[in-house]
């Protein structure tokens, strides 16, 4: 199951084999399963991490959507929630973590800092990386400083819709 085909071949294969093999059906079921069991990586950077914790707690309870299984090891996580400012010293570490995560994987940029540098971006800043887009692919952006827990849940639900629609986060690096 480890072989990942680039999308173009996948679609051509589907057309040729359509009378015999309904490849899309397997893909839809798998995407439905993937959408409903997103395991985020335990990984807080700064202030947004507190609101990410709040989402896992009793009041907002991310577990209702099956997404509150916070895995500490990147090998078992398939969603990276970037919660907090990405400093230049931390960016290569995040990139390594992102590469260690197995496909298909998705990422949520939570908070202004991960979208565009947020409150710490000013002409001549030297300390932060202005947004996660600079070095990795981001699927859902959640503005706010910090965004409320409801906003993070909305972002995760938006990501689940995206996955159900079959935008494979996996093979191609295309910007879903």
């Amino acid at each position: 199951m480890g072989v990942t085909l680039p999308d173009r071949q996948l679609d051509e294969l589907a057309e040729e084999a359509s009378p015999f093999v309904r490849l899309a059906m397997v893909e839809d079921v798998l995407n439905l399963a993937r959408a409903n069991s997103l395991w985020p990586l335990t990984f807080g950077l700064a202030c947004c991490a507190i609101e990410m914790m709040a989402v896992g707690m009793a009041k907002y309870d991310l577990d209702r959507f099956g997404a509150a299984v916070f895995r500490p090891s990147p090998r078992q996580a398939d969603l990276m929630i970037l919660a907090g400012t990405i400093s230049r010293k931390m960016a290569p570490v995040i990139k390594t973590l992102w590469d260690q995560m197995p496909e298909p994987k998705w990422s949520i940029a939570m908070g202004g800092c991960t979208i565009s540098g947020g409150p710490f971006k000013y002409p001549g800043e030297y300390a932060i990386s202005e947004g996660a887009e600079k070095f990795m692919r981001v699927d859902v952006h959640i503005p706010g400083c910090p965004p409320r827990p409801e906003a993070l849940i909305a972002g995760i639900l938006r990501l689940e819709e995206k996955i159900k629609q079959g935008r494979r986060g996996g093979a191609g690096e295309q910007n879903g």
């Binding site: 700064a46 202030c47 914790m53 707690m57 400093s87 570490v93 409150p119 000013y122 800043e125 409320r148």
Partner: protein, 377 residues
Amino acid sequence: MSLSAPDLEDPQDTYTLNMGPQHPSTHGVLRLKLTLRGERVIAVEPVIGYSHRAHEKMAETRTYAQFLPNTSRQDYLSGLIYNLAWVEAVEKLASIPVPERALVARVILAEFNRISSHLLWVGAFLADLGAVTPFLYTFDDREAIVGLLETVTGSRLTYCTGRFGGLSKDLDADFPRRAREVLVRLRARWPELEGLIEDNVIFRQRTMGVGVMTEEQCRHWGVTGPVLRASGVPYDVRKMEPYGAYPRYAFTIPTRPEGDVFARYMVRIAEMEQSCRIIEQALDGLPEGPILQEGSIGVKKRLKPPAGTLYYAVESARGAYGIVLTSEGGTEPYRAKFRTPSYANLAALQDMMPGSMVADAVAILGSLDVVMPEIDR
């Protein structure tokens, strides 16, 4: 847990383990370079800077009012205390009068912020020791406080309600009643915490006698806050250098003689009770009147404090937070340095951790209640 001589000498038995920037119990992005022999920690070197956001450089390029949002993003768990500290420092430098009601309101908000920070710490510390459930209970109480503060300040975590000469929004009429309800709910929690956590045998075994700090070591590293008070030193900026409306209220400084991880837990729990007592006294004596000094400059740009340097200290949830503010008479600070408490508390790890096991290392780091952006500024 003293280290015998052979432990240190033969290097080929030791190996370095990176409790890396991404680790479930480093509470943010801190990397501990542990030199281990088997499970025993020989030496630790904290590597910081992973959430350095250049607050001090930004202070020099922004006016006093524009820097307000930055303050509560340094230590987002006691963001209100940091925000009010910056406002009070500038008021002292530019000698701006503050109405009575604002002074008392600031004490109430700051103490609620302290309790919410300690509550989150209790949950996170227990999660480090392996018990996940208390985190949800203490977080629930913290949500009650955060909800209350949200009605006044409008934000849940990064507050920006301080203005030069008062607060941006007045406490509404219903605030004292709701605040007392939260106090009743918190006070009902202390016996539960005592029964479930303090008397828990496993918790006691994991925390007693672990990571002991003597007063001399605290002085060597400049440790302040609950970590220092757990080593028997009653140093609290609210008592030593009283500011705002604190001298009016009677409260004690809880200390513990042992100086180990268990003592730090007990000190923080006792401190929460003291904060409740302060809030009660402040709520009883809440004066009427304006929340913001009339004609005060508020957030306008023309604030130009006289030239000079000011050292203004405040007691944050983690210790003595000092602002060294230098003004050359311009609209922007010439230099602003933030002496954050966890900077010294984390450095003290290099004395506390050698000799302990990996599991203790996690407990000791948890007991320091470290918030990384406060250290990296």
